[in-house]
């Protein structure tokens, strides 16, 4: 690893070596073997990284080859006789009708009502109550043990005011309160920092849902107005559901994936 440009300086002053081109050529020829030797012998993380890189390149190469091959071979007309024969005036037209679109929206509404969702994380590890709450001892002799502090991340709305401290049973520490989440759009594959509107459902129980506790697998509602989504009717969508994909209490941030 040359530090400085003394090699280039020498080359500039005295020119290249006489066998420079020959040596370059031979080095390039050996590159191939070197690459394969390195890929086979590298261990650990480095090996994994090299393997992943090679795989990616291989996939790309295959795709480009297939693309080029597509244009040179002549495709035969699709000979199979399909079902659903239509006259010529209907052939170029979209067969999905308004009825189907309507039935799809109705089905979505029904699903929302039932609370059944097709979520990316269908099963999450159940969190026990001892893990979720820490018992806070209060009182002059620290004998009363009816208070609990939430050890996981929680969301409280913007207009949240604590109950009078003497009577609040569940303490949600401000250090573990978050109002924003990093939401990834599954198809666009980009992540946005969106405001949380509320906690819709915590899989560990409805008590946690009402408290606003956010653990892995929780469905939260986020403000997507900045994404600029519009319904088929023309209305602007400003709230969508997302499912939390990490353990926020360990990472210090809430990562979620949008449910489309």
């Amino acid at each position: 690893m040359a530090q400085g440009d003394y090699i280039q300086l020498h080359e500039k002053r005295y020119g290249k070596r006489l066998d420079h081109d020959e040596r370059q050529r031979k080095r390039k020829a050996r590159e191939v073997k070197k690459r394969s030797r390195v890929a086979q012998q590298a261990l650990g993380l480095k090996g994994k990284r090299i393997a992943k890189q090679n795989y990616r390149e291989k996939v790309q190469m295959k795709k480009t080859i297939a693309m080029h091959e597509e244009s040179s071979t002549r495709r035969k007309i699709d000979d199979n006789v399909h079902d659903g024969a239509m006259p010529a005036y209907l052939l170029d037209r979209d067969p999905t009708t308004r009825a189907k679109v309507l039935s799809n929206t109705i089905k979505q509404k029904r699903k929302e009502k039932a609370g059944k969702w097709d979520v990316p994380l269908p099963k999450v590890r159940p969190v026990a109550e001892e893990e979720m709450f820490k018992v806070i001892r209060t009182g002059k002799r620290k004998t009363k043990q009816w208070k609990r502090m939430v050890t996981k991340v929680s969301f409280v709305g913007p207009s949240f005011t604590r109950k009078p401290p003497k009577y609040e049973r569940f303490i949600r520490p401000t250090g573990l309160r978050f109002s924003k989440a990093h939401v990834t759009h599954p198809e666009l594959k980009c992540t946005f920092n969106l405001d949380i509107i509320g906690v819709k459902k915590n899989p560990n129980g409805q008590m946690y849902t009402s408290l606003g506790v956010v653990t892995k697998g929780t469905i939260i509602e986020v403000n997507v107005s900045e994404l600029g989504l519009v319904t088929p009717a023309g209305k602007v969508v400003w709230g969508k559901y997302a499912q939390v994909t990490n353990n926020p209490e360990n990472d210090g941030c809430i990562n979620a994936v949008l449910l489309v």
Partner: protein
């Protein structure tokens, strides 16, 4: 002038009338007619003035509204002043009268997939249908049973067309090939005609007054070109390329030009000896779905008419067809109407100019099918907005809307006397509309699924319809 002496001329008022033919030319000088004159008397007057040997029926229209009562009542209703000359337009009506069909006489199963097109032969004696099960079937109209099953296509049969002399049947399929059939035996004549690369959208034969026996036909395809084929040489003689997108419809006009409408929003007019482009008619904003010619019905039926006469030689047929065509056309040039996805239609006179004569707006969804009436006086358009609209066939002014369907209207067909209109729709019903009263005449439910194709036989006896439920229904009176 025969005026009924029995009826007393109570008011004694007379009105000045001028009888004009549909094109606007006056028949004789203006006449002073008493006000109790009605359509029967006017009919006699017209017959006398035209020196007709037989009493032909006429219908009378004052400013596009039919005159059914005596002039007196009409004037009172409309409060028209007697000072001005009243223009009465007379229109010849068909001598024969077709009865509306009202019952399904037969439901013939046979196809194993949806029926995509049905067509009667020009003499009304044969019926053929093409279907998604790749067969063309010929049906016996006397016994209402299947006659022949013609296999040979590799994919759905999208379009069938009878030659105007009734001797050949050609069918086009989704794989782009055309097959010729002999309707008497049901056998294929020769091999498949290949050349198109994508599916066939429309077929039209050369009129029999230009050539008898019928030899040539033109086919339009999704690949953007139209081809002229010769049945005796069994190959493509000319290829009309020029459209950039699919050609959706093609018509062979009576003056020997071919009109093609395409998805690239233009209509091209071609001449047939060398396949050169004569004119390009631009104006539509979206796909051109359907074309209609004012002489279309006469070209389709060729030499056959309601008298049911048969011809022994092709020359005789050619002469009779030519006479019929000349009578139908008169002195006016052929009119062409195109219906498009941009919800409007244009009325063109392609022989005169490349600018449209009129723009027919009013539909709220795409126009799928346009069809001139057999006498050329009316134009009907079927649209996906569930309505059928009636227009004046000469000027293109709107006359009436027929509402009643609950689904998009796919195809329409006229009865041979131009008094009844039939429409088939996605809601599985067929409806017969009366042109005179602008109302629904008959409702024909019965199909189990969408109705894709309807046809009224040229002799007016039967209606055939086929659709997604795979049965062919014959309707009679």
């Amino acid at each position: 002038m025969a005026v009924e002496e029995g009826a007393s001329t109570s008011s004694g008022n007379t009105v000045m009338c001028l009888l004009t033919n549909p094109e606007g030319e006056p028949l004789g000088a203006p006449l002073y007619l008493p006000q109790n004159v009605g359509p029967p008397q006017l009919q006699e007057i017209v017959n006398k003035l035209l020196n007709n040997d037989e009493k032909l029926p006429y219908a009378f229209y004052i400013s596009d509204q039919e005159l059914v009562v005596q002039l007196e009542s009409y004037l009172a209703q409309k409060k028209v002043s007697v000072e001005k000359v009243l223009r009465i337009v007379y229109q010849p009506q068909a001598v024969f009268r077709i009865r509306p069909v009202n019952r399904c006489s037969a439901t013939i199963a046979g196809h194993t997939e949806a029926v995509l097109s049905v067509s009667f032969s020009p003499d009304g004696k044969h019926l053929a249908s093409g279907s998604g099960d790749t067969t063309v079937r010929l049906w016996d109209l006397n016994t209402q049973t299947p006659l022949f099953t013609c296999t040979g296509h590799k994919n759905w049969v999208l379009f069938i067309a009878w030659s105007p002399d009734g001797k050949h049947l050609v069918s086009g399929s989704k794989s782009g090939e055309l097959l010729l059939w002999d309707p008497q035996t049901g056998k294929q004549l020769g091999g498949p005609l290949t050349g198109h690369k994508k599916w066939i959208t429309a077929i039209s034969w050369e009129p029999v007054h230009l050539q008898a026996p019928s030899r040539r036909f033109v086919s339009a395809s999704k690949d953007g070109d139209a081809r002229i084929w010769d049945t005796s040489l069994k190959k493509c003689v000319i290829s009309l390329t020029g459209h950039t997108l699919a050609v959706t419809c093609v018509k062979w006009g009576g003056d020997g030009h071919i009109y093609t409408g395409s998805q690239d929003c233009t209509i091209k007019v071609w001449e047939t000896t060398q396949g050169k482009l004569i004119r390009e008619l631009k104006g539509h904003g979206h796909w051109v779905n359907s074309l209609a010619l004012s002489t279309e019905y006469v070209l389709r039926t060729g030499a056959y008419d309601h008298t049911g006469k048969t011809f022994s030689s092709p020359e005789e047929m050619k002469e009779a067809a030519l006479a019929r065509y000349k009578k139908m056309r008169g002195n006016a040039p052929e009119r062409l109407v195109s219906g498009s996805d941009d919800f409007t239609m244009f009325l063109w006179e392609p022989a005169l100019s490349k600018h449209h004569k009129a723009r027919l707006t009013g539909h709220q969804q795409l126009v799928n099918h346009v069809y001139f009436s057999p006498d050329g006086q009316w134009l009907a358009s079927a649209s996906f907005d569930k309505s059928v609209k009636l227009w004046n066939g000469i000027t293109g002014t709107f006359i009436a809307t027929f509402r009643g369907h609950v689904g998009p209207v796919y195809q329409i067909s006229w009865s041979a006397d131009s008094r009844l209109l039939l429409s088939g729709s996605k809601d599985s019903t067929l409806k017969v509309w009366d042109i005179r009263t602008h109302k629904l005449k008959e409702d024909l439910p019965g199909h189990a699924d969408e109705v894709f194709s309807v046809d009224w036989s040229p002799d007016g006896e039967k209606v055939a319809s086929g659709g997604k439920d795979r049965v062919l229904k014959l309707w009679m009176n």
